[in-house]
Amino acid sequence: MNLVASESEVLAPLASGWFLEHAWLVPVVPAIAFALIILIGKRLPMKGSELGVLSMFSSLVLSVGAGYQWIQRTNSAAEEQFVEPVIKSWSWWRSGGFDFGIGQHIDGLSVLVLIVVAFISTLVQIYSLEYLRGDRRYTHFFAALTLFSGGMLAMVLADNMMLFLLGWEIMGLCSFMLIGHWWEDDANARAALKAFFTVRTGDAGLLVGIAILYFSANDWTQENLGVSGFSIRGISAWALSGEPNSTAITIAAIALFIACIGKSGQFPLHTWLPDAMAGPTPVSSLLHSSTMVVAGVYLVARLYPVFFVGLDILGSGGNLIMIIGAITIVISAALAFVQNDIKRVLAYSTVSQLGYMMLGLGAGAWLPAVFHIFTHAFFKACLFLGAGSISHSASHHSFDMKRDMGGLRKVMPITFVTWIISTLALCGVFPFSGFFSKDEIIDNVGNNGYNTFMIVGLVGAFMTAAYMTRATYLTFFGEPRGASAGENSHDSHDPHDAHATVSAHDSHDAHDSGATHGPHESGLLITIPLMILSVLALGSGFLNATPFGENWERMKLWVEPRAVEVIDAKHSGGPGESLVINLPNAEESHSKSVCGSATPADGVCFAPQLQHAKFKWSKAMMSMVIVFLGMALSWILSSRLFTKRDPRLVGLTQRVKVLGLGHKFLVNKYYLDVLYEKIIVRSIAYPIANAAYWFNQNILDGILHGFANSTRKLSGWVYQNIDQRVVDATVNNSATFTKSVGTAAQPTQSGKVSQYGALLFSAAAIGALVLVIINT
C-alpha cells in the first residue's frame, strides 16, 4: 500500500462475505445437477425434475445471498470509492504462452443478472413440472434446461473472456436442444437449426473480437494490472486508458457487437427468434425472452468501456449500436401486428424490447438499459408463461389467436390478470415496472442529445402498446373461437403457416391435468409462477424509481460502476485489504472524472463517466399519453375489425392494393428469410456443393483413374520391354553364349591326334620362347 502525497486517504476495506467469495458455486451446482439428471434422472421418482428444481433453487439462494452481501459491500464503500468487484481466478490450462483461467467477477451487474437468471429459471422449472407432464423426453428437457442455466450463470460471472465464451456457447447449444425438443416434427428441427446457425454467424464476431482484444490489451494489462488480456477487468481498464489503437478497438467493438446482433436478435439477424417459438413455452419464456437473448445486451454492458471508446458512445453522431437498436425496435414492432400466433407476437415484442436495451446502451444510458433487462425479464416471462397457460388449459395446445382463442378472460381469471399486469408493464404505464425502465431509456437517449432516436423510441412505445392491445383483445375479449369454444376435436390441427409451426401439438403427450375438456384455469404449478412474476412486474420498478428522487435510485447505487480512477489497482480490494486511493480532489471529482473522456493521469479507470437525465413529470406525461393513444387506437380498430366486423375494415388489405402489399411484406417478414435462406445460403451452398462434386468426380476420380491407367501402361511397357527384351534376353543370351563358347571350343576336342600334337607343340614352342625372352 502506498502513501502518496498529502491528499491520500486510507479508505475502509470493502465488505465481503461468504456468498460473494463463493459465488462461483452458482453455476457449479446446476452443472452437477445436469450430470446427475443425465445419469440417474430417469430412475428418480419425479424423473429428474426434482434435481433440476433443487439446483435452481440453490443457485437462487446463493445468488440472493451474494446480492445481499454486495449491497453491504457497496454501502461500506466511501462516497467516491470504486467498489471493486470480487474477483477470484484459477488457472485452467496453459497452452503456448496463453494462460486460460476460470474465475468469478462479481459486481453489481453480474449479481443483478445472476439473480434474474436464477429466479426465472427456478420459476420456469416449477412451471414445467406441470406443463410438460408426461412428455416423451421429460428428463432430458430438465437436463437441458439445467445445463442452460448453468451455462448462462457461468457466463454472467465469468472473469475472463474465455469462460464468457464457454458459457455463451453452452447457451447456444442448449437453445438448439430445447427449441428442437419435439424434433420429430420437421419444422421444429428446422427452427432449431435456424436458431443455431443464425446465432453462430454472429459468434464469429465474438471470436474475432476476443482475439483482437487479447492481442491488443495483453501487454498493457500484464504490465499495469498483472492479468492477461482475457480478463474482463483488464480489458475494461485498458479500453479507458487511452492506450488502445483506435482502429483496433473499434474493430473489436464492432466484432463483439456482431455477436450481440446474433444472440440478442437484433436486425438483421433477428429472424431466428420468432421461429424459436417452436420450442416448448417454458423454453420460450426462459431462453428467448428473459435470459439468453439478454446475453448480448449483457456483453455490451459488461465490456462497456470497449464499446464506449471503440464506437464513440456519447459522441456527436449516432453509433452502430444505436442505429441497429432503433431499426430493430421499429421493424419488429411492425411485424408484431400481422401475427396470429400469440407466441410470435411476444417474440417480436422481445426483439423490440431488446432493441430498446441496445438503443439505451448505445446512447450512454447504461443504467436504464440494465434496469430494463431486470424488469423486462419479469414481465416478459410472465407473458410467455401466460401464453403457455392458455395453450395448456384453454386453446388445446394451439397458439393461434384468431382461430382458437377469444373471450378467455371469463374462464381464466388468474391468467388474465397477470397478463394484463405484464402488458401494462411492457407498455410502460406508471406505476408498473416498465415505466421506470423503458421510459428512462427514452428519456436518457433524448437527454444525451439524440433526439431522432428518442422519437424512434416513442414511436416504438406507441406501436408496442398497439400490438399488445390487439393481442390482448384477440385472446381475452370477443367471442370464444375454435378450441376455446369447446371444439376440442383431436384432429383439429391448425394448418401450419408456411414458415413455422408453433402449435405445441406433441401427439397429446403433455396434457393438462384436468381431464375435462373445455377451457379452464390452469393448475397451481402454472398459476403460482404467473402470480409471482406479475407481482414483480408490478413492483420491481420501484428499485430504481427515478421520479421519486435519489433515495429511490437503489439500482444506480448498487449496480452502476463508479467512474473513478483507481490507483494501485493490482490489488482487487478483497476482504481485509485496505485500499489506498489518491484522489486529486475528492469532492469535485463527482462529475469531473476523466474516465471515458481522457487518459487518467495515474491509476486506471474501470468504467466511463455517464450522465443521467433529470426526471421531469412533463416528459413522463407525454410518453404516457402516447402509450394510451396507442392502446385506444388499437382497441377501437381491433374491436371493430374482429368482433363487429365493420365492413369498412374487413378485407381492407385485399381491397386497397398498397395496404395489401404492405401487409404481404410484413407477413413475409420483409422477405429477409427469403434473402437469407434462398439467396445467400443457396447461392453459396449450391455452387460450393456443385463445385465440390465436380471436383470429386473429375479431379479426384480423374487423378485416380489416370493413375490406374498410367500404372497399367507402365506395367505393360515394363512387361514388353524389360521383361521380354531384357530379362529374357539375358537368360537366352547367356544360354546362347554358353552354347557358342562350347561350339567354339569343340574343335579342340576333335579326336585327331595330330591336332593334339600340334597344339601341344605349339604351346611348348611359345612357352620356350617366353622363357627365353624372360631370361635374357
Binding site: 595330330s754 620362347l769 627365353v772
Partner: protein, 150 residues
C-alpha cells in the same frame, strides 16, 4: 644328317622315310663316337638300327602301306608345324648362344670306358635299371597281347 632328317619328315614314301631314318641314326652314332661315347654308339647301332628299324619296316609291311610313292602323307597341320618348329629352333638357338657362346669341349684322349658306365648302371642307377627291365618286360608282353589275333 640334317638333310636326312628333313627327308624323313618330308618324303612321301614310307619305306624311303625309314631308310632316311637309318641314315639319321647312323649319323647319330657317328656323333656319339665324336663325343667319346663309344659304348653308346655301338649300342645305338645295334639296338636302334638293328632292331628298331626292322620293327618299323615290319610294321609298315603289316599295315599294307603301299610300296612306292603314294599320296601326300602330310596332314593339314603342316602349315602350323613349320612356324612352330622354327620358333622352337630360334628359341633354343638363342638360349644356347646365350648360355654357351664360344665354349669348347674339353680335350680328352681317353674315351669313356664301359666299365665306368657299368659302374654307374649297377651303382647309383640300379633302380632305374630294374625299372627299365620291367618296362621292357611290359613292352614285350604288351606287344604280344596287342598283336595276337583275337
Amino acid at each position: 644328317m640334317i638333310i636326312a632328317a628333313l627327308r624323313v619328315v618330308t618324303t612321301n614314301n614310307v619305306v624311303h622315310a625309314a631308310l632316311w631314318l637309318v641314315v639319321v641314326l647312323a649319323g647319330a652314332a657317328a656323333q656319339y663316337i665324336l663325343l667319346a661315347a663309344e659304348f653308346v654308339a655301338v649300342t645305338q647301332v645295334l639296338v636302334y638300327i638293328g632292331a628298331v628299324m626292322v620293327l618299323f619296316l615290319f610294321g609298315t609291311m603289316l599295315t599294307r602301306a603301299r610300296i612306292g610313292t603314294e599320296s601326300d602323307l602330310n596332314n593339314s597341320y603342316k602349315k602350323l608345324g613349320i612356324p612352330v618348329a622354327l620358333v622352337m629352333l630360334v628359341a633354343m638357338g638363342v638360349a644356347l648362344l646365350g648360355s654357351f657362346g664360344d665354349e669348347k669341349l674339353p680335350q680328352t684322349d681317353t674315351v669313356v670306358s664301359t666299365q665306368e658306365i657299368s659302374d654307374q648302371i649297377f651303382g647309383p642307377y640300379l633302380l632305374p635299371f630294374w625299372a627299365l627291365s620291367f618296362v621292357l618286360l611290359a613292352a614285350v608282353v604288351g606287344a604280344i597281347v596287342l598283336a595276337r589275333k583275337d
